[in-house]
Amino acid sequence: MDTPITITIASGKGGTGKTLVATSLVLSLPEGVQYLDCDVEAPNAHIFLQPQWEEELKTGLVVPRVEAAVCTACGECNRVCEFKAIVVIVDKVLVFDELCHGCGACSYICPSDAITEIEKAIGIIRKGRARNGIRFLQGLLNIGEPMATPIIRRLKKEAATNARITLRDAPPGTSCPVIESVEGSDFTILVTEPTPFGLNDLKLAVGMGRELHVPMGVIINRADAGDDRVHRYCGKEGLPILLEIPLKREIAQGYADGQTLIDILPEYRDRFQGVFARIQEEVRHAGK
């Protein structure tokens, strides 16, 4: 029996095909894979996997509330807050919820015990079942809320621990929400395209993956457009190229309709199974 494996699909550059790859990979695997859509700002995987939602829960941060009658306006909370989310002006305390990280420093420090914390929703977690028996979880950031990372953290906590295979569909970029999505995974697939933008952002993503000590492989989408610099870079850096997907109008059109590669070109099922076998091998190799 193989050990459980968590694979994150990330990219650096947006729109390179993370979700296309992740949804096609999940459909080529045995039933019962767990899928986490960690792109909580702009989640799209549900369009392709069409889950039936079974549960929805609010997720949020704890934010401080000050009891005016007890508060002495000593200013300690203002002093310790690294995010300028709680400010004392003359004898009044103002809390800026959207700046608050929910760290609890203000309530910890308050000498008068004037601060209590309330739960403030910033997003939701949805759970359901999708095609192929997929256990599907999605995080969704509320419009106007700035902080995506706490929702991804919660999404990871809500994931079942007994799943044999977990895929995480990450947001684009290389900063906090991406790091939270990649952290704790056994392998990261970086999806790129052979253009200067794709290469530049691939390098950033590889730098991030190395900081996190996660083994990585590359899938090149629209592989026949652009130039060969991504291929050469992967060769030089010893990054395995797991798969190449050509630029084809039928793929673009099928994707536009919400179809995965498996739906558009069924021969990709075998190829993605090959990708998965290769990843298992890479993970075993990295573990040694």
């Binding site: 690294e82 990280h101 760290c103 106007g144 790091i179 200067p196 991030m208 059109q253």
Partner: protein, 291 residues
């Protein structure tokens, strides 16, 4: 002249979904707009420099947040920092930098007073010259946080530069998504241009980003890129925008020439991509040219 007319106007280009063509459009607008300052606010995965080839004139460090440093020799392993930390980031005095929220609670709670918070140099921002004029951009260090804060710095510097030079516009290449860096890239701007594509994903994310501009009460216009990939979906976008009273400023056809232009470091205008260049010019006229 009244004060308000000397304030530069600001345009932010966003999309929700990544890879719809934000940077391609921004670079073309850089060429078409005479009197402007460019700002690359996709600091996470900045690409505008690949087309505009900036020559850096000024580099300044960015200090995003402070990071706890533990004097391990004096640490008694009492475990209080671990207890108070809500991010599960510190164990036995050893910090997991990637989990750390930089909130400093461990420093305040440490009974031995052996944790200090130190400024971390988490990136740099630059003022540069390009063949189309000045540009402000940035590089966030690998695996660093606080991209929203760096976006705010880039925008402030670009606006200052525009005022100094009497520029009419600041044109801002925005990040994907709808979270912190996007909010930082669009608060207080004159208008937002949303680049979408006729895919179900593109439509889904355009709707989210339009909710965001509505939430902040910022006027938005929509442009459909690669509209001919899926004419039915393009019609859906048009009817959605019509219902919401959002102006569609143009539709750009798909052409491989756009990729070739990018590969050769040219804007679509410089490469004169057939069909695309004239369509982008029309969009520009409706967003900036006719202002």
């Amino acid at each position: 002249m009244p004060e308000s007319s000397r304030m530069p106007k600001q345009l932010t280009i966003i999309s929700g979904k990544g890879g719809t063509g934000k940077t391609t459009f921004t670079a073309a607008f850089a060429q078409l707009t005479e009197n402007k300052v460019m700002a690359d606010c996709d600091v996470d995965a900045a690409d505008l420099h690949l087309v505009l080839a900036p020559e850096i004139q000024k580099t300044a460090p960015f200090y995003g947040s402070r990071t706890p440093v533990v004097d391990l020799e004096r640490c008694t392993r009492c475990g209080i920092c671990t207890q108070v930390c809500r991010f599960d980031a510190i164990h036995g005095g050893v910090l997991n930098l990637f989990a750390c929220d930089h909130c400093a609670l461990c420093m305040h709670a440490c009974p031995e007073n052996i944790i200090t918070m130190e400024e971390s140099h988490s990136g740099d921002w630059f003022i540069s010259n390009t063949r189309f004029g000045p540009m402000v951009h940035a590089r966030l260090g690998i695996a660093e946080e606080n991209s929203g804060k760096l976006v705010t710095v880039v925008r402030k510097e670009a606006l200052n530069l525009a005022k100094e030079q009497g520029a009419e516009w600041v044109i801002i290449d925005g990040p994907p998504g709808i979270g912190c860096p996007v909010t930082a890239a669009l608060t207080g701007v004159t208008r937002v241009l949303i680049i979408t594509e006729p895919t179900l994903s593109g439509i889904h994310d355009m709707e989210r980003v339009l909710s965001l501009t509505t939430h902040f009460n910022i006027p938005a216009q929509v442009c459909v890129n690669k509209y001919d990939i899926h004419p039915d979906n393009t019609r859906r976008i048009e009817s959605y925008c019509r219902q919401k009273g959002i102006e569609i400023v143009g539709k750009i056809p798909f052409d491989r020439g756009v990729i070739e232009a990018m590969v050769s470091g040219k804007t679509v205008m410089e490469a004169d991509v057939p069909g695309v260049a004239p369509a982008v010019r029309q969009v520009w006229e409706r967003v900036i040219g006719d202002w």
